[in-house]
């Protein structure tokens, strides 16, 4: 009886082991092994719109590197034969995490242990990045995270393997406080969605305003899944603020603009987070976009190395025309470029050396400057060089030649109004009304 059981156990165990192990033992291929870089993105669900943009950027970068060996503006890194290093092409493996943190964690396990990727890119949205940071740390996998801006992911955690490529939320809304103070604003109202990214964003915005002596008369969160914004905006406008700061995602920006238009909301300036900067926003709200401001992290008109060529490449490879470009695509591209620089600097797939380079290097990419806090700092990996921009939708002027990277939708032009040295136009203040 016991022996029969044992034989049964062993027999089945052997069969199952064989089933799992054998496929892994396939004969090695003759061709050059690609360098595999893994990433999970939100391709369905809540954040899928942004996830798709991020994916575009990664694919443009992959195509460029595999075609000619370097991406836009990175000729100086050397290795100008096709492939990343040693003629090895890049293979970016992208999975869909359904905008769900638990799935993200599962997928990074898969990427690292089953697909055996050499390096990783970060996921989109702070919530998922928070969840997966533990995984990449445990497996000691160098990760360039360019889709998570919440400083809380790095702050005090002393991460050893993940760097932040994009601006942290402290850099969002640059200059709003400055412009408002210059224009004599006294009060501000802030409304934001009650989730990780808008909360951290609005906390830092509040600090900036108060530092300039502008009183925040109302700061209120609304729950996710709200459908009508008129009540909360009515409440905010009743406080008669000069500055209205609004934090949320894309649908919120459209819904709130419509509500503001309906209420003929009257203030000095309206500033939005993600959403109001996107070309789709103007298509959705039409003329109501007049003088709306939005933070921006990157624009096509910036004078960064290789920017112009990058715009051409995205048009050629992803079919994205420059005037409809959106910075979430550049996130993906940035992630690729950071890895490219680090890998070429090291010259081999040596994880520890690549990690050290990622934490130490100080470079310029298409996206702008890059530098993170060093490994021994408590907030290691936190981005410090990259700065944010402030844009405003302004009417198209007749007889003006706009540079090729400028976003123009119908009669509306996306102008940079801060920082002043990069500004393409003067800010419109106060808001011109709704007629």
């Amino acid at each position: 009886m016991k022996k029969v059981k044992l034989v049964l156990v062993l027999g089945l165990a052997v069969v199952l082991v064989a089933a799992f192990v054998l496929p892994g033992c396939a004969p090695p291929k003759e061709e050059v092994e690609p360098i595999k870089i893994g990433c999970s993105l939100a391709l369905t669900g809540k954040y899928s719109w942004t996830g798709e943009r991020y994916k575009e950027g990664l694919l443009v970068w992959q195509t460029q590197v595999n075609e000619r060996g370097y991406s836009s503006g990175l000729e100086w890194c050397g290795h100008t034969e096709p492939g990343l290093i040693d003629g090895r092409p890049v293979e970016v493996i992208i999975y869909d995490d359904k905008s769900d943190p638990a799935t993200g964690v599962k997928l990074y396990h898969k990427l690292i242990t089953e697909d055996k990727v050499d390096l990783c890119f970060g996921p989109y949205s702070s919530a998922i990045a928070k969840a997966i940071s533990t995984v990449v740390e445990r497996y000691e996998m160098p990760t360039a995270s360019c889709g998570a801006s919440d400083p809380g992911i790095w702050g005090g955690n002393n991460l050893q393997w993940m760097v932040q490529g994009m601006q942290p939320t402290d850099e969002y809304f640059p200059g709003v406080a400055d412009i408002a103070a210059k224009m004599g604003a006294k009060t501000a109202a802030i409304i934001h969605e009650d989730t990780a990214f808008p909360i951290s964003l609005m906390n830092s915005f509040r600090g900036q305003l108060e530092a300039k002596g502008i009183e925040v008369v109302l700061c209120e969160a609304y729950p996710k899944g709200i459908t009508d914004w008129t009540p909360i905006l009515t409440k905010a406008m009743a406080a008669k603020p000069d500055v209205v700061g609004i934090g949320g995602y894309e649908p919120d920006s459209i819904g709130l603009t419509k509500a503001a238009q309906a209420l003929k909301a009257d203030a000095g300036i309206f500033v939005w987070t993600v959403g109001a900067g996107a070309p789709t926003y103007v298509e959705a709200v039409g003329d109501a976009c007049y003088a709306m401001c939005c933070e921006s992290l990157w624009e096509g008109i910036l004078d960064t190395p290789g920017n112009e060529e990058y715009l051409e490449a995205t048009y050629r490879i992803a079919g994205l025309p420059p005037e409809k470009h959106e910075y979430h695509t550049t996130f993906g591209y940035l992630a690729g470029q950071l890895m490219e620089i680090a890998v070429k600097e090291v010259g081999a797939i040596d994880k520890e050396a690549i990690r050290d380079t990622l934490f130490e290097m100080e470079v310029e990419t298409v996206y702008g400057p890059y530098k993170v806090l060093p490994l021994d700092s408590p907030d290691s990996g936190f981005q410090t060089a990259s700065k944010g921009l402030l844009i405003q939708w302004q009417p198209k002027k007749v007889g003006v030649e706009y540079p090729p990277g400028q976003v123009i939708i119908g009669d509306w032009v996306k102008e940079v109004i801060y920082p002043y040295e990069l500004a393409t136009a003067e800010p419109i203040w106060p808001h011109p009304g709704w007629d």
Partner: protein, 288 residues
């Protein structure tokens, strides 16, 4: 005081559209006793039908809303013929899971086909003054449309033969069957009508708010709260439930904050269930 009146009016305008969406759900529940989770996707598809007609063909959005009504009614009838009728009168969980399957199918299909971009119908953008504040014209138009639809529905339920049959089937399906009412046709009709109401409500949503494929998942839970507030299966109750939810959101936001406003309605439902199972206004008798 003025703020309160503004909040009340805003709440009623908002609630009328909510109520229209909930009425379809209540109608379906009343006649078939099924938990129709696909209703949220009907709303979403109605919104997208309206959007595409406006965007691609340049149709008047209000006209497009009525086309959306027909399209969604046809879709609902199709789904009923193919699948839903098999679970009517069976264990209630079956309908819940079946419609959940249909809902994620339709949601993923729309995300795949339309992309997950946020869209909105950009139609009458003016507003009119009201007590020192403003009311948006498109909301008022939507309110009027919702009232007309609700009025037509109530009148037809009250006075037409089919309406009487519908009410009979809702109150007591067995007796209705004995009295010679073709219960299967009535069910098909009510499901299609539920879809039609969702189609209109969806169109009105596209005019007022930003739409995206996963909006249905947000709306469906709210719709259930409204149906529950008005008493399960009651049409006027669902409309009033919608108005209650609209006012709760609007006034609650104004006086306590948006977060508190978000829990007023669901907690009221539970309180109503426990203390007044016949619904907040006692418009129907308890059926089951």
């Amino acid at each position: 005081m003025e703020l309160l009146i503004i909040a009340l009016v805003e709440g009623i305008l908002l609630g009328s559209v909510y109520g229209l969406g909930a009425m379809g759900l209540s109608l379906i529940f009343g006649i078939m006793r099924i938990i129709n989770l696909v209703h949220g996707e009907f709303l979403m598809l109605g919104a997208f039908t309206c959007f595409w007609l406006w965007f691609l063909l340049g149709m008047n959005p209000i006209g497009a809303t009525f086309v959306a009504m027909l399209v969604i009614a046809a879709l609902a009838a199709f789904l009923y013929k193919v699948a839903i009728f098999r679970v009517v009168g069976k264990f209630p969980l079956l309908s819940r899971v079946l419609t959940f399957g249909l809902a994620i199918f339709l949601w993923n299909f729309s995300e795949f086909a339309f992309g997950s971009t946020f869209r909105s119908v950009n139609y009458p953008t003016g507003s009119i003054g009201f007590l020192g504040s403003y009311l948006s014209v498109n909301k008022i138009i939507c309110f009027v449309v919702a009232l007309i639809i609700a009025g037509v529905l109530f009148a037809s339920l009250k006075w037409t033969r089919i309406g009487k049959a519908l009410r009979a089937a809702s109150q007591n399906p067995r007796v209705a069957l004995i009295s010679g009412i073709n219960i299967h046709r009535i069910r098909l009709l009510s499901y299609a009508m539920g879809g039609a109401l969702a189609g209109i409500a969806g169109g009105l949503i596209a005019i007022q708010w930003a739409i995206y494929p996963s909006i249905g998942q947000i709306l469906i839970l709210k719709c259930f709260a409204m149906v529950a507030l008005g008493g399960l299966g009651s049409l006027p109750g669902a409309l009033l439930g919608g108005v209650f939810l609209g006012i709760a959101e609007s006034v609650g936001t104004m006086y306590w904050g948006a977060t508190i406003a978000g829990v007023i309605a669901p907690l009221t439902v539970i309180a109503v269930f426990i203390f007044r199972p016949q619904g907040l206004w006692g418009v129907v008798e308890r059926v089951d």
